[in-house]
Symmetry: C3
Subunit: 264 residues, 3 copies
């Protein structure tokens, strides 16, 4: 039997809003350690990894490891019906082909339960090794979202270049070019407003803005975002989920870009 009670139910609503447009169907994996998901986006280009550790739940009971296949669009529809202050409980009986989401209002006057059919989804779990990155940028998540949105009005791809002084986001399109530089800046009033750059060596990589924009839908989950870059690895865009875990997006850099520019 599975019973996970999350007092801050709005977290789960935000998680669904951040991945439902990227991934259609996915298995949620439940074990003693936590509630997790790993899935490729529908065009098999980006990877999403979610972890909500068991300690973050007010009540966490998971008798045996189970994997529950869900349509994320439908799950998001149901979670949208939870109030922002509601307590959300996820329940499933052993062997059942349904999952129940229960929403309790803070005053306990209103109690809703939504039951959803589970699906069989083939999926292979990729091992993602811990890796060394050439550069790690931590910056306000709203700033990163704004930059990705702004550059999308000019071009389709973004070149992210990191030096000791700062991180530069560049694009070019039919109407012109754009460069946005964010300087390292740690002398801010609030730590979440800092832009912090850890760099082992300079790096410059190109990504599709469409995916970056999709990732930034997770911005409501965290005031900061961490971007880990390496020329040999997919970029990791990570949003921490308050004391519970994280949502991470992986995206391989584009490599054709520079060849295109070298043409006459």
């Amino acid at each position: 039997m599975l019973e996970l009670r999350l007092v801050q139910g709005s977290l789960l609503k935000k998680v669904m809003d951040s991945i439902k447009d990227l991934v259609n169907d996915a298995n949620f994996d439940c074990s003693a350690t936590g509630f997790s998901l790993q899935a490729m986006d529908s065009s098999h280009v980006a990877l999403v990894a979610l972890l909500l550790r068991s300690e973050g739940f007010e009540h966490y009971r998971c008798d045996r490891n189970i994997s529950m296949g869900m349509n994320l669009g439908n799950m998001a529809k149901m979670l949208k019906c939870a109030g922002n202050d509601d307590i959300i409980t996820i329940k499933a009986d052993d062997g059942s082909d349904t999952v129940t989401f229960m929403f309790e209002s803070p005053t306990q006057d209103k109690i809703a339960d939504f039951e959803m059919k589970l699906m069989d989804i083939d999926s292979e779990h990729l091992g993602i090794p811990e890796a060394e990155y050439h550069a790690i940028v931590r910056m306000p998540s709203a700033e990163f979202a704004r930059i990705c949105k702004d550059l999308s009005s000019i071009g389709d791809t973004v070149v992210i270049s990191v030096t000791k002084e700062g991180v530069k986001f560049s694009t070019r399109g039919d109407i012109g070019t754009a460069n946005i530089v964010c300087r390292q800046n740690t002398t801010v009033d609030k730590p979440e407003e800092a832009t912090v750059i850890e760099m082992n060596e300079p790096v410059s990589l190109t990504f599709a803005l469409r995916y970056m924009n999709s990732f930034t839908k997770a911005s409501p989950l965290s005031s900061t975002v961490t971007i880990s870059l390496s020329s040999e690895l997919p970029v990791v865009v990570e949003y921490k989920i308050a004391e519970m875990g994280y949502i991470r997006f992986y995206l391989a850099p584009k490599i054709e870009e520079e060849e295109d520019e070298s043409k006459p």
Copy 2:
């Protein structure tokens, strides 16, 4: 001659917004007692009854009973042009085929008059007898609106079931099922936040969510809604209009529903 002056003009704007999508054309009936309307929705399934008593107007002159046929969409367009703090006066000369809406800004610096053609509309006035209901639920109008909206994302119909403990709203659709229970609750800080259930006998009735959602457009008129249920009568969804009257929506329960479910 007719001249009705309503200081709180925004009330009339809200009334129009709550019925203009349900009813296309209707007769407004004016008599010494008040300004009223009774109309079927365009698919002849739901009935709307509006009453604004003469005492609620700052000035109310109606020399003889008249019935003015109006296109509610056009009337709503004109009333949209009134400011929220404007005083609205409805004027019509005897035998005239037009009605004039006058809007005065609170400072009297801006005065607008909008003149609209009247229409001839055939309509029969239904007598609605006072009736005994099996159960009467009073609850916050915003809560009822939220529940109808939430359930619409899952199914097309709602089963409303009342017991002494509370009222349950249920639906089912392709993606699953949903049940929302609101408990009787009278120990609240503000009386308009209470959920109060008067029950003579338990009742469980099925309604089309499309209409319920349409009725909830009247929520800005009142912080509470009263739902009167009886297995032999249409449900009445009533919004009081501050010390002036009410808007009531009548809708017959669906009866096929249970037969459908008894099929294999």
Copy 3:
């Protein structure tokens, strides 16, 4: 070389938002006195004239008069990427076929430069003589915008009539007629809330509401609007730009209107 630094960059964003739907391509003219634009709308009915005087810029360097042809839609796209508190610098090298917009965040942590291709645009500069007007109305810009929007829901044209007592805006359409009168009113708490009428002789002119509505997009630039009317001249709808200049819209009155109404 050209380098214009505007601390209140949001002004430029608002200017673009107010004209980008009216004019597609236009030459910006730069001289020692200021940054200006004069352009007909795409259907050659209305004229826009913009002036930002050099004194309004924190730094203003313009070595020689130049005219820069820009696509206003693209320019607006780029300026949309500037934050509302950003300092905007417009830069162009002599003989260059590009212009650069630089956006600096108030804390200098984020610096963006957007480079846009210039265009060759044929345009003749019309001399607009200072003229005497029959009547000049100054009123709150939000009020004027509201009136134009409201009347558009009833008809296509507005008759603006000025007498000593006030200014009347009228329209008629299929669903009826509308008249809105704003009285002269100078005893207000804030000077920008006044409606002030200077009248040499009464005037009554008809204009296309589509254009008036388009002009009111400049409302965020100024809390008041000045409407100068004369039966022999195009109307001038002027929004002052805080201590820097103005944006003026010119539109010829419609003359067929009255003949139409005299028909049986």
